[in-house]
């Protein structure tokens, strides 16, 4: 029901949509309803010492991570699996947690050897409340209202979040700021930019669940491109349109493009529109207000009228994954990067199936377009309830440290793949694969309490590591960052979803030819007066 889930659905809402969800951050807007006792101001937040970044060096990837944000890649699972946490975090204590779950709910701890084993390794009786991702909003609100907070929980970017944090959650500076985090080396392995989003009220209030600089991919069915004899790297709008026309055959139920928003985001990149906001001499300009955006919408309307998009592309229930697997659409733009996994599985029954990724060129095709870097910065942040005993906070942090064990470590293997022979099997190259049991058991959603930075790795498909690494390297050569990432705007948290939905509805009517492109100006005007200008002001104060 909720559009404010942290996952992929929210990307589909549109740019700002995801930024609301994911770029939680500091400063401003402790609006109405009781001001935070410690001011959530630019000045106080600027003084915060962010946790030191100490990258984990125990494992050498096949292809290295880069300063631009390309993730480390592994062709096979490392043979050496070093321990990253020497001691059990706990001593039989109980910790209550709460997070959302995207997978079918796993069996309870007494019938789940993986979970029992996890508790054993943690030395902690971890009791987890799991909430279907679509319902987290309501559960969060009632949990807060009932003052029934678990010790550690996934936070939502609700309105007046700073005041809520101030009242009910622990300020973590004493534990994590600067070098203090070195007590928790796996948390110190999370790069600095992800921590910005945890700063409120002049302090650190959470642990980020990081995502990479390339958090979305433009997926294509290379087999269909090859069969049609067209290049999988069309340069510029004209080539893209021509390619799409070749790929489209309505009688055979084949269209080039799927859901409209993916196409929109691709065209926005192509036209060089801002990644959310753009700083122009101390002033912020939103994507919606730019000529590039207008051009992208006009281009999108062209593509729609050319009949190369799936006729139901505007449906909210667009079954993108199914249609992509079936080849009904050849291109699935702007989808979560973990979709790589899903699509490989969906295509497994088709011997011709070949997955690839499409880069974005500028509109005239002369060069690569600038990538929307860090579109999703953090999936969410994890907050710790106020405790009377600082020892309990340390215990929880030790647990989160264990759960953030980096790829390749012994803890990581157990956390993701469980017990060998029960939850997973290992092939000759050392690649683990979950068994049916493992698939059911490991669904415990601990990855939304704490997680290591992502790496590129596809078990049993060593060449995929090279494909993805090369793609990330290519698209990140030139990238645009959203300057508001990590900043908190109360207007954004409370109003943006509705206001942006209204704006997007208007855009859809333009694209479908029901309204002239000139109405876009009115939409922008409404957007500005109902939220845009207020958000701008709140963000600008923090730059």
């Amino acid at each position: 029901m909720s559009e404010r889930a942290f996952g992929r659905r929210s990307f589909l809402v549109g740019t700002g949509g995801a930024a609301v969800l994911l770029g939680m951050g500091s400063v401003s807007g402790c609006g109405t309803g009781g001001a935070a006792r410690q001011a959530n101001t630019v000045a106080s937040n600027a003084k915060v010492v962010l946790p030191a970044y100490v990258p984990y060096a125990g494992i050498t990837p096949d292809l290295p991570a880069t300063a631009e944000g390309v993730e480390a890649a592994f062709r096979h699972f490392p043979k050496q699996r070093p321990k990253s946490v020497p001691e059990k975090p706990g001593n039989g204590e109980t910790i209550n947690g709460m997070s959302h779950i995207y997978l079918p709910v796993p069996p309870g701890v007494d019938r789940n050897s993986y979970w029992a084993g996890l508790n054993d390794r943690l030395g902690i009786d971890l009791k987890l409340q799991m909430v279907p991702a679509a319902d987290y909003e309501q559960k969060f609100a009632t949990t807060i209202a009932g003052n029934e907070l678990p010790d550690v929980m996934q936070l939502r970017p609700v309105s007046n979040l700073p005041a809520l944090l101030d009242r009910q959650f622990t300020r973590l500076d004493d534990y994590l700021a600067g070098d203090a985090i070195k007590k928790y080396p796996n948390l110190a392995n999370i790069p600095t930019q992800h921590w910005k989003a945890t700063v409120f009220n002049g302090g650190i209030y959470g642990i980020p669940i990081p995502r990479g600089a390339v958090s979305v991919y433009h997926f294509i069915r290379q087999d269909l491109f090859e069969a049609a004899g067209v290049s999988p790297e069309p340069k510029g709008l004209t080539e893209l349109t021509e390619t799409a026309k070749v790929l489209t055959d309505p009688k055979a139920r084949r269209w080039a493009f799927g859901h409209w928003n993916g196409v929109q985001q691709y065209l926005l990149m192509m036209n060089g529109a801002p990644n959310g906001w753009r700083a122009e001499g101390g002033r912020l300009v939103h994507q919606f207000e730019t000529e590039e955006h207008k051009q992208a919408i006009a281009d999108l309307a062209q593509l729609w009228s050319a009949g190369i998009m799936h006729p139901d592309a505007f449906s909210d229930q667009f079954p993108a994954a199914n249609l992509f697997a079936a080849g009904t659409v050849a291109v699935n733009f702007f989808d979560g990067y973990l979709g790589w996994n899903t699509y490989i599985q969906n295509g497994a029954s088709n011997p011709d199936f070949k997955l690839a990724l499409m880069p974005v060129y500028t509109r005239d095709g002369s060069e690569l377009a600038s990538w929307f870097r860090g579109y999703v910065t953090n999936v969410s942040i994890t907050g710790l309830k106020k405790q009377s005993d600082p020892k309990k906070i340390e215990l929880i942090l030790r647990m989160l440290n264990w759960l953030a064990a980096p790829f390749g470590t012994e803890e990581y293997v157990y956390r993701v793949f469980g017990e060998e022979g029960v939850d997973h099997t290992v092939n000759g190259d050392g690649d683990p694969t979950l068994t049916q049991t493992g698939l059911t058991n490991t669904a415990v959603p601990i990855r939304y309490l704490s997680d290591a930075p992502a790496v590129i790795y596809q078990p049993g498909r060593s060449q995929d590591a090279d494909v993805q690494h090369a793609y990330q390297t290519k698209v990140l050569a030139k990238s645009t960052l959203n300057p508001t990432v990590g900043l908190f705007s109360n207007t954004h948290a409370s109003k943006n979803t509705a206001v942006e939905k209204a704006f997007t509805n208007g855009v859809k009517e333009i694209v479908q030819g029901r309204k002239p492109i000139s109405t876009l100006d009115d939409l922008v005007k409404t957007w500005r007066s109902s939220a845009g200008d207020a958000m701008r002001k709140e963000y600008e104060g923090q730059l």
């Binding site: 109405t32 209202a145 309105s159 809520l164 009688k251 139901d312 449906s315 979803t497």
Partner: protein, 322 residues
């Protein structure tokens, strides 16, 4: 002995007895009857009425972490949508009213007609089989119903695939703003018409069959029996359901609509509930969302009182007696 007499005068007792003691006497008389109702009444009061006190947040700037005790009062600010002339709100109200009228006219009678049709079948077994098929769609969630309609009638659905493959023009049904209300209405009929027959079938089962027999002996034909026996017997329950439906006029299929707003836009699809969801609940504006709920309830009460009065004027019982 507790006397249970239907036509006992409500102003019984002698004038000499004081009111309070008369009431006490009646309670003593009816104590067993009241006791039967107490568990149900308790549940209603505990879980429906006491939480209603929470509606006080309609007058507050409420935040879950503050609680009702600490949230500041803001007067009628949360109700401002009623008079500030927000065009999105007015569109939502207009769409809601249109849909209510359309659905009352086109949806409400369908289960009744279907029930009469089923009832007129001679074969009891066939009747039951048909009925158990027709009520199935009720058990599908709206997500699935919407998906099924898209599969069948979507622009790339079964119907249009057939048309396109045979060089016939496509028929756009889903995603067309002008047809949206018709689409919603047909989905509601598909999903709930069969289910709705149940209550009428139960009412039909209560009709004394001897009446039919007697009238047949008197020479009445099928249509006359329908008009003079069946429909009059159903009249009470029909009016009851209609009044309750009207009381709920301002609610029209929240989930169904929010799932399908995307392709048609707000102008064609926004209704009161989706508007409150989009502009209140999603943004965490509990005060406004609660205020809107209160307004809906009050309007519902007024409609029910009005409709009930109307029913009385026509000599019907309505939901409650005078």
């Amino acid at each position: 002995m507790a006397m249970i007499v239907d036509n006992r005068p409500t102003t019984g007792g002698t004038a000499a007895v004081p009111r309070a003691s008369r009431r006490f006497q009646r309670l003593r008389q009816d104590k067993l009857l009241v006791a039967l109702g107490v568990p149900g009444a308790t549940a209603l009061i505990l879980f429906q009425y006491l939480p209603l006190l929470g509606n006080i947040i309609a007058f507050q700037d409420y935040e879950p972490y503050l609680g009702i005790a600490e949230a500041p009062f803001v007067g009628l600010q949360n109700f401002s949508f009623l008079w500030d002339g927000n065009p999105a709100f007015l569109t939502a109200v207009a769409n809601t009213l249109i849909l209510t009228v359309v659905q009352t006219i086109f949806v409400f009678p369908v289960p009744l007609l279907l029930a009469l049709l089923l009832n007129s079948l001679a074969g009891e077994r066939l009747k039951r089989l048909l009925q158990s098929i027709l009520y199935l769609p009720h058990f599908l969630s709206w997500v699935i119903v919407v998906a099924i309609f898209q599969q069948m009638l979507g622009n790339a659905g079964m119907l249009n695939t057939f048309l396109v493959q045979n060089d016939l023009p496509m028929i756009e049904i889903i995603g067309v703003p002008e047809l949206f209300k018709a689409l919603l209405t047909s989905q509601v009929i598909w999903k709930d018409a069969g289910w709705g027959t149940i209550i009428f079938l139960a009412a039909l089962a209560q009709i004394n069959q001897e009446q039919y027999e007697a009238s047949a002996v008197d020479g009445a034909n099928g249509r006359q029996r329908l008009w003079h026996i069946t429909l009059p017997s159903l009249k009470g329950i029909i009016i009851l359901l209609l009044i309750l439906r009207l009381g709920d006029s301002l609610s029209v299929g929240f989930e169904q609509i929010i799932l399908q707003q995307g392709p048609v836009g707000a102008e064609a699809s926004e209704v009161l509930d989706t508007w409150v969801y989009n502009y209140g609940i999603v943004g965490g504006d509990w005060g406004m969302a609660t205020a809107a709920g209160l307004v809906k309830s009050v309007v519902g009460v007024l409609i029910v009182i009005g409709a009930n009065k109307l029913a009385h004027m026509f000599g019907e019982q309505g939901v409650y007696q005078k």
